[in-house]
């Protein structure tokens, strides 16, 4: 089990190393979506050179249009030259190019929503993937079942904002056109949307690849981390956190791992969660789908709605 951090700054690298965290995910100027930090190729090289223990994974997770294929090929070539340790991708075009070029860095299939069973991942292993980021929207038990049955590395999110949707369209700019409102659509501004009739907010922003929606609530597995020791990579997302907040959150997870090793986790996890809430009082935490499941058959949907109505009537 390795903690891997979607890094939001280079400022505290040595602090992370001191905590025992060496695996980092970063974005690049092209083909990266939902990164917390964007580094040039030179900066990626420099990050690698800071310490030989550092492993750098780069987000190459845009869906790639045909006219950008040549750029993508060059991009992957340049990343390979930087001696990166892996990529997270979702377009199978990325995998094809990596295989054609013989790139040996880890190819983590991270389509956000599609990695929901072991059979598919084992087929994809034969097609060349080295690892998979398991879908967030499946319960922890299903994630464990998948992990037990696959022959690739598994990555699961344990902390941070969660991916919700990705559109090629400029949804915020379009809305500005219609309403005449003026606001910055980039990630730097904290734009949120709230579906009418719900309590949930979502972060929303635009970049060169379209519009991205992320949960405003943040997944937190600090109090159930002992269930995650079977996975290869535990992913902590640094988006919408300050540099210091991310460092402190990672530190709490390191302490939790240590407590699990020392068999003191049951006692310490409560304190760690309390510390987290104290450090980030503005953030709402939840377990997301870890202990919850979705329904899809219309009969099940209706039954659930009826149950909910009955409950609210009583």
């Amino acid at each position: 089990m390795t903690l891997i951090v979607n890094l939001n700054s280079l400022d505290y690298i040595y602090d992370y190393l001191q905590l025992g965290v060496h695996h980092f995910i970063v974005g690049a100027p092209s083909f990266s979506c939902r990164q917390a930090l964007t580094l040039s190729f030179q900066e990626i090289k420099e990050l690698k050179e800071k310490d030989e223990r550092i492993k750098v994974f780069v987000l190459v997770n845009a869906l790639v249009e045909q006219h950008l294929l040549a750029d993508l090929k060059k991009h992957l070539h340049d990343l390979n030259e930087c001696q990166i340790d892996g990529i997270l991708f979702q377009d199978f075009g990325v995998l094809t190019i990596c295989q054609d070029e013989g790139y040996s860095f880890e190819k983590i299939y991270a389509p956000d929503t599609l990695n929901t069973n072991c059979m598919t991942l084992n087929v994809l292993k034969e097609m060349g993937i080295d690892g998979a980021f398991l879908a967030r929207e499946i319960p922890l038990e299903e994630k464990k079942m998948i992990q037990e049955r696959v022959f690739i590395k598994t990555m699961v999110q344990v902390h941070g904002v969660e991916y919700m949707a990705y559109s090629k369209r400029k949804l915020l700019s379009n809305y500005k056109d219609v309403t005449g409102l003026t606001f910055d659509v980039s990630k730097d501004t904290n734009i949120e949307i709230q579906a009418n009739g719900t309590d949930d907010f979502c972060h929303i922003y635009e970049d060169q690849y379209g519009t991205h929606i992320l949960s405003s609530k943040q997944l937190c597995a600090l109090d159930v981390l002992n269930h995650f020791m079977c996975f290869d990579y535990l992913y902590i997302d640094g988006q919408y956190l300050s540099q210091m907040e991310l460092l402190e959150i990672v530190s709490l997870y390191c302490q939790a791992v240590e407590a699990i090793d020392n068999q003191t986790y049951n006692k310490e996890s409560i304190e760690l969660k309390q510390l987290l809430i104290k450090l980030t009082p503005q953030i709402k935490y939840y377990h997301s789908f870890l202990f919850d499941s979705t329904v899809y058959k219309i009969a099940d949907v209706r039954k659930r709605e009826e149950d909910e109505r009955n409950q609210s009537n009583h």
Binding site: L63, F92, D112, T116, M127, R169, L181, E192, K297, R304
Partner: protein, 418 residues
């Protein structure tokens, strides 16, 4: 790539005619889609298919669909396009074998394991990669080619220029959406429904949360105050009527119409319009006149405003709906013709919506131009004259001087009183 056109008797004709692929949510719609000109129809089974709200087909229904389709020279594609979870894998192989045995022509698949399994089972049926996988480039297509798929349904985000490049650079069958509703986000990559409704979009439970209204905030301050329309992520429907000639000349293999949940009237109207458009163009492409009649016809079925998706230009705010009341059917489906008696000039019809004497009904069919008639006499089954037709599915008789054909449909022409 296959030759698209040839000179025959001094005239260029299209020899590589695309498949017109229509949706159907039940057997009745499927039969109408085929009778109105679909070369192939895609349907969902009871299992392993998205659109859990559609009626969907049992294996017996699929058998009947295949028999009917093959009798009329059409094909049946069955969607097996859910993203499998651990508890969905049981029964899959048997289901695929059953579809193959029944004679289904193709399955539409979004999960690579189903592709793999279908190929391992040595099934006769074709395997098509669903648009749920958002395939946008030839490198991704190469991946699926290695898996020996027979066709790729491209993502709706592929624009015309990219589509042309993709066609030039791959031999595989390409299917492209020409009409219907569009996901506002990349298909298969949207979890709004899962988060807001706990309904799994990738297994057919989508609650269409993108079409809801949202309040929007900047650093906690609400932006859509007062009368400002709330934020929404609803796309207008796509209609590529103007670009069908381009798509034919590119050599796209299959033109897909979306809408397994749509009405009988919608399917009949949209399928017959594209059928006529494709046939008219292919017959004499160099003298084809871009006729407004196809647009007018499509509008009669449109219950949502239309746009051209990503094909022609990047969709801006005019391609989105910010007010659901933009939905505007212009004509109501009210009659299906069961037969026509030449001697009495009586058309036996099945009532599908309220109409009355004095209304105007437009009859349409893939086999003749539209015919508008005023309803002068309505008779019930006992041949007694009645003033109104207000019982759904009632068998009635209409006096119509012009010959109608079995399965013609009639829509009430709504007079704009303003």
């Amino acid at each position: 790539m296959k030759e698209i056109s040839q000179i025959i008797n001094g005239k260029r004709v299209i020899v590589k005619k695309p498949e017109l692929l229509a949706p159907a949510g039940n057997l009745e719609k499927l039969k109408v889609a085929i009778l109105y000109g679909a070369d192939a129809v895609f349907i969902g089974g009871k299992e392993f298919s998205l659109r859990s709200s559609a009626s969907n087909f049992s294996l017996n229904d699929i058998q009947e669909a295949v028999t009917f389709a093959h009798l009329h020279g059409s094909k049946i594609h069955v969607t097996c396009n859910i993203i499998l979870h651990m508890d969905n894998i049981g029964g899959l192989a048997d289901y695929l074998r059953s579809l193959d045995k029944i004679g289904v022509d193709a399955i539409i698949v979004a999960d690579p394991y189903i592709i793999y399994l279908a190929k391992q089972l040595n099934l006769r049926l074709e395997v098509h990669v669903s648009t749920q996988l958002s395939t946008l480039n030839t490198s991704a297509i190469s991946f699926y080619e290695k898996m020996k798929v027979d066709r790729v349904v491209l993502g709706r985000e592929v624009n015309g220029d990219d589509l042309r490049e993709i066609r030039k650079n791959t031999e595989i069958d390409l299917e492209y959406f020409i009409h219907g509703a569009m996901c506002i986000h990349y298909s298969g990559r949207c979890m709004l429904s899962n988060y807001f409704s706990r309904r799994d979009a990738n297994r057919g439970g989508c609650s269409q949360s993108c079409r809801w209204y949202y309040d929007i905030y900047e650093n906690g301050d609400k932006l859509n105050k007062d009368q400002i329309v709330p934020f929404s992520m609803s796309s207008k429907d796509m209609a590529l009527v103007d670009y069908i000639p381009d798509l034919i000349e590119m050599g796209i293999d299959s033109f897909k119409i979306e809408g397994r949940m749509k009405s009988l009237h919608y399917i009949a109207t949209v399928v017959s319009t594209y059928r006529k458009l494709i046939d008219d163009y292919c017959q004499d492409p160099d003298h084809f006149i871009d006729n407004i009649k196809y647009h007018q016809e499509i509008q009669k079925a449109a219950n949502r405003a239309l746009c051209t998706g990503f094909f022609h230009e990047f969709p801006n705010s005019t391609c989105q709906l910010y007010n659901q009341r933009d939905e505007h059917p212009t004509q109501d489906f009210c009659v299906r013709v069961l037969n026509y008696d030449h001697q009495s000039h009586l058309a036996m019809i099945e009532q599908r919506n309220y109409f009355k004497k004095g209304d105007f009904i437009e009859f349409f069919s893939p086999y003749h131009d539209n015919i508008v008639v005023e309803v002068k006499h309505i008779y019930n089954e006992d041949k007694d004259e009645v003033d109104v037709a207000n019982h759904p599915m009632e068998i009635l008789y209409l006096e119509v001087d012009v010959e109608l054909l079995e399965n013609d449909m009639g829509r009430k022409v709504i007079v704009n009183e303003s």
